[in-house]
């Protein structure tokens, strides 16, 4: 049976409203919606509201937030009764949310490991059967890595953006200068040397 809240996922949880010891209505709800519904049902101010109303509110909440909603519910501190997020972990580098990670099973960028680290440890313990989940192998030798290739590529990318802008503004002198710079950098990279003065 489909969840009567989101009308998408299979329902595994049943909620019954009881009036004067008689069951008036019952609802089937999926596990994901239940995370929200229970916060309303057990909230001090709202616990007397009929389940039907609660489901309506939760449905609106979910459709308005869709992906971030789950992250809210899972966040430490949880969802405030008003529906305002208490704390939503979102990666500042790539915008990854916990809900998106859960849906895809893949992270967006290396920083996500730090951003979601509290949620991650139990998962890593399970996957790798190790407690606490900490790396034991080698790491790259400190200070040995040369990131000039990455920096040059990033600089080329930036210059290309500037070139695009210069062309759009019909600033052809500037564009020519930028093109020379890009060529010099590309040649330096191809020759396997560091670019002359190639810093960003």
């Amino acid at each position: 049976m489909d969840c009567q809240c989101c009308q998408k996922k299979p329902a595994h949880i049943r909620v019954c409203d009881i009036d004067d010891n008689v069951m008036s209505e019952q609802f089937n709800i999926c596990a994901d919606c239940w995370i929200f519904v229970k916060r309303y049902l057990f909230d001090q101010e709202r616990h007397l509201a009929p389940t039907r109303e609660v489901l309506n509110e939760v449905r609106q909440l979910i459709s308005s937030k869709e992906s971030t909603a789950l992250a809210v519910a899972e966040a430490p501190g949880g969802l405030a009764p008003t529906g305002k997020p208490a704390e939503v972990p979102v990666c500042p580098d790539c915008g990854m949310t916990l809900a998106e990670f859960k849906a895809k099973g893949r992270f967006g960028c290396p920083r996500d490991y730090e951003v979601f680290h509290t949620h991650l440890d139990p998962l890593l313990e399970r996957i790798h059967d190790t407690t606490p989940p900490r790396h034991k192998g080698r790491v790259p030798a400190a200070g040995e890595s040369d990131d000039s290739l990455v920096r040059q590529r990033q600089q080329v990318a930036r210059l290309k953006d500037q070139l695009q802008a210069a062309v759009t503004q019909e600033n052809y002198e500037q564009a020519a200068r930028l093109r020379d710079q890009i060529n010099a950098l590309e040649n330096a990279v191809d020759a396997g040397k560091a670019a002359p003065g190639g810093t960003a």
């Binding site: 290396p110 680290h117 998962l123 790396h135 790259p140 890595s145 040369d146 290739l149």
Partner: protein, 355 residues
């Protein structure tokens, strides 16, 4: 290496097909793979096309700055046809995911097809080394040499807590996966594969069919690999695999022996019928080819068959795959034409006096 050269796509040079390494009666190959990502970029799945283009350039520049092997081939996967990409999959040089992905991506491999480096798979770099037979130590030290060379020119994303950071948390830590490709015809015949699956799982290793799904793998080929990449050092992962795989090998050998001593006629009948079928069929599906090749391979090991080599059988497992046939024919083949071509190839390779 240009894309027009026919040799490259029709004649696999894979050292792992030789059928010679340690324990080659059961083990086809040992592969050690390392997942690496370059600092300052999102993982491939979240990188836009421009970033993927930059990543590919950076990776290729780095790969050419470092001395990987005497001679390497770099292919731009966007420039290849679907058939060519599938050939690389059939030859275990790239993953099916990378072949089917979109955007800038590439592969660099050594002439012996032992080293292969995928760029813009799920992780920016997937470094792998394949050796024929059960040879974890050599495969591991070879790929570590490549890793150490690359880390001097590429800043890899790592953290103190989690080690090498990967797109999927199942690879984090060492980023290392050892996969041993094993041929288990006796365990399959006697229905003991399920037991091996479960035992391996208890020891945190996974077994899966290499071709096809589930427990019934075409050709009785399976892949055994470590599950955990975090919380163990590389050396520990190596020694775990070295402790577990031999048990599977012994089990398979014991069952082969029992089969042959207790049901000699049954085994000989199965093996020789398969050989006869492969030597005379005019049409062969890939599934049929693999299941009979499996019996022939068993027959070669048990010396029931003496005029066919392991190398011939191993190679047919690759060259009889659809894309290899397609490329060899230099035309798009329909299913029946392909079956006819496959039968022809198998007949010519197994013909008496050719091995």
């Amino acid at each position: 290496m240009s894309n027009e050269s026919p040799d490259y796509f029709t004649h696999p040079l894979g050292e792992w097909l030789k059928g010679t390494g340690p324990d080659h009666d059961v083990v086809i190959s040992t592969r050690v793979r390392l997942a690496r990502n370059i600092k300052g970029f999102p993982f491939t799945g979240r990188a836009d096309l421009k970033q993927r283009g930059d990543l590919l350039r950076i990776a290729n520049e780095a790969l050419h700055r470092v001395h990987l092997e005497k001679s390497v081939v770099t292919l731009d996967l966007q420039a290849l046809s679907e058939t060519e990409r599938d050939i690389l999959v059939e030859r275990h040089l790239i993953s099916r995911e990378l072949a089917g992905a979109e955007g800038p991506r590439g592969v660099t491999f050594g002439r012996g097809e032992m080293l292969s480096i995928m760029v813009n798979e799920e992780d920016h770099l997937r470094l792998q080394w394949i050796k024929s037979g059960f040879d974890v130590d050599r495969a591991f030290s070879a790929i570590r040499r490549i890793d150490l060379a690359l880390e001097k020119v590429l800043p890899f994303a790592t953290s103190e807590q989690y080690g090498y950071l990967t797109a999927c948390p199942t690879n984090v830590g060492t980023g290392m996966r050892i996969s041993v490709m094993v041929h288990l015809p006796a365990l399959t015949l006697l229905d003991h594969v399920e037991k091996v699956f479960k035992a391996a799982q208890r020891m945190n290793h996974a077994v899966r069919g290499l071709y096809g799904e589930g427990t019934r793998a075409f050709g009785d080929m399976y892949q055994l690999s470590n599950q955990a990449t975090l919380g163990r050092s590389e050396e520990e992962i190596v020694s775990n695999v070295k402790a577990i795989v031999p048990q599977v090998l012994e089990y398979e050998r014991r069952m082969r022996g029992e089969l042959y001593t207790e049901k000699r006629e049954f085994v000989e009948d199965k093996v020789l019928r398969s050989l006869a079928l492969l030597r005379s069929a005019r049409r062969l599906s890939v599934q049929e080819m693999m299941s009979h090749l499996s019996m022939v391979r068993l027959g070669v090991d048990l010396k029931i068959i003496t005029d066919v080599t392991m190398n011939t059988v191993n190679r047919l497992f690759v060259t009889g795959q659809p894309s290899h046939l397609q490329r060899e024919a230099r035309a798009t083949l329909g299913p029946t034409e392909r079956e006819a071509r496959r039968a022809e190839l198998v007949r010519s390779q197994l013909a008496t006096g050719t091995n």
